[in-house]
């Protein structure tokens, strides 16, 4: 099975082409560049270098969030359009799982974190079980100060990975010896890992309905729903005219 993997959830961009047996190629960029400018040229180069036509793939695996709203929309739109237009399988993988899979320890709880600003994080907790990466505490948007006590209560050794730099002092202070921070090399998402996770996942049944996992409503919608819990006949939101 030939998989094209796409992740533009945060600042880094990573794409890979991989078969069951091996990685054919991976491009990872960690530079200041919009993903709209960077993604399609990277994909184009991968196929050229591998001397493959787009239709040669069997599946598109995409990191579907959480992450930067614009970033996950570019990856998801590109991935779902490719899968639809080429009539190939599509799988969505948590962007947090992609980072978590960089930590190979089987003894520890792996805690990927993305900075969601205002002392909040996109995060979750993962564990390797029989060679599979399993989500043990679901992905969420939460204040770091509320998340750390929950993790400590598991009594398990923790390894934080991802955008840990801004939070490392707080993590060390609150978690002490129970926590480790993964080395810098593990913090970037890797297309190869996403391709591998994507090979194991179940394909999406309805490609059209596939959307990013934002984990947060927009502020406008949250305010609206607070004041209008019954939504007052505004559905369907989108109609063909």
């Amino acid at each position: 099975m030939l998989v094209l993997a796409i992740d533009t959830s945060n600042r880094a961009l990573t794409v890979a082409l991989a078969s069951d047996q091996q990685l054919l190629g991976e491009i990872t960029l960690n530079i200041k560049q919009t993903h709209s400018e960077g993604l399609m040229p990277a994909i184009t180069y991968l196929f050229q270098a591998a001397k493959l036509k787009p239709a040669a793939i069997d599946r598109v695996a995409v990191a579907q969030g959480p992450g930067s709203y614009t970033g996950i929309r570019i990856a998801v739109t590109t991935a779902k359009t490719l899968a639809w237009t080429l009539n190939k399988e599509l799988v969505g993988v948590s962007s947090l799982a992609v980072i978590a899979s960089n930590v190979l320890s089987t003894q520890r709880l792996i805690v990927p974190v993305f900075d969601a600003r205002r002392q909040a994080v996109f995060t979750g907790a993962y564990q390797w079980q029989q060679g599979h990466l399993v989500s043990v505490l679901s992905d969420r948007h939460i204040k770091l100060a509320a998340w750390l006590p929950e993790l400590l209560a598991t009594k398990q050794p923790l390894t934080f990975v991802g955008q840990t730099a801004v939070f490392s002092d707080t993590i060390r202070k609150m978690c002490g010896k129970q926590a480790k921070i993964a080395p810098e090399a593990a913090n970037l998402p890797r297309g190869q890992q996403l391709a591998w996770l994507g090979q194991q996942a179940q394909p999406i049944a309805n490609v059209h309905g596939f959307v990013p996992t934002y984990l947060r409503k927009t502020e406008a919608e949250a305010t609206w729903l607070k004041n209008h819990p019954n939504n007052e006949g505004h559905e369907p939101y989108v109609e063909e005219i």
């Binding site: 237009t85 927009t218 989108v238 109609e239 063909e240």
Partner: protein, 351 residues
Amino acid sequence: MQENSSQTRELILAFESSCDETSVAVIENGEKILANVIASQINSQKRFGGVVPEVASRHHVEQITLCAEEAMTQAHVTYADLTAVAVTYGPGLVGALLIGVSAAKAIAFAHQLPLIPVNHMAGHVYAARLVKPLTYPLIALLVSGGHTELVYMRTAGQFEIIGDTRDDAAGEAFDKVGRVLGLAYPAGGKIDHLASQGQDSFHFPRAMIKEANYDFSFSGLKSAFINTVHNAQQRGEALSHADLAASFQASVIDVIVTKTLRAVKQYGVQQLIMAGGVAANSGLRDRFRQEIAQRDLELDFVVPPLRLCGDNGAMIGAAAHVLYAQGVRGDAHLNADPSLSFPYLAANTTK
């Protein structure tokens, strides 16, 4: 003109997602609509009294492949039939634009098709091409919630701005005034309807009507309107909403029609195109027709049907046909350009 001479018909798959409509069309030879699927978010955006960009972007992701599939099905075409893929890359909301751009680039890559980036405003002008052939030079009046522009075209595919709004777009003024009158977003149609039942009794200012340029300003009118309503409220006096709407609309129409027809005369054009959401306003359409008849102008006034006046993929496909012939191509790097604009016509080149 065509890269493949054996091809008998040119088919362009066109994407539009610059604001709150997701639209995909299939256009034959730049003039025939084979499909023009439009998904409107109006029900959703109504909740907020205007378009919330992040909400718009989210809806576009939900709709984009659905619209594309329906357009291809309605048009009875396959990818092998397509000549090129076109997409609006600006101006507009950046997050919204990026969905169309990402999808169009993916399809162009997947099927090795040329990609044609299209300026949204060029699309509005070329909506008229779906009605009849264009005769150059011409002037296009583009009036919508985001724009109020007078565009001069010497020839096909060449756009120069001769006038623009200095503050609010005309449609924006309609929506803000509508809010003051307690009308639901979008208020344009409701104000138009109210205005038809009232009289211009408040005599709001006609901003910049006499100035020797083709620019517009609607924020002073909006303020005058709001002050009138608030002062009456403080006095406990009830004003006729129909008269308020009629007075507001009369001011907008007076300025737009006067300045547009002055430009038509100065530039000596024989065709005037009006497009954009506000082109749906019946008062504005009627006044143009009256003035053109009264002044006995030899002017072909073209207003595309309502469905083509608002945002849609068909107009992007029509504009792309012209750009394609001129060799305009995008590549894998194509990005959204939210503040994309036509160049201004240099003042000293005016006739």
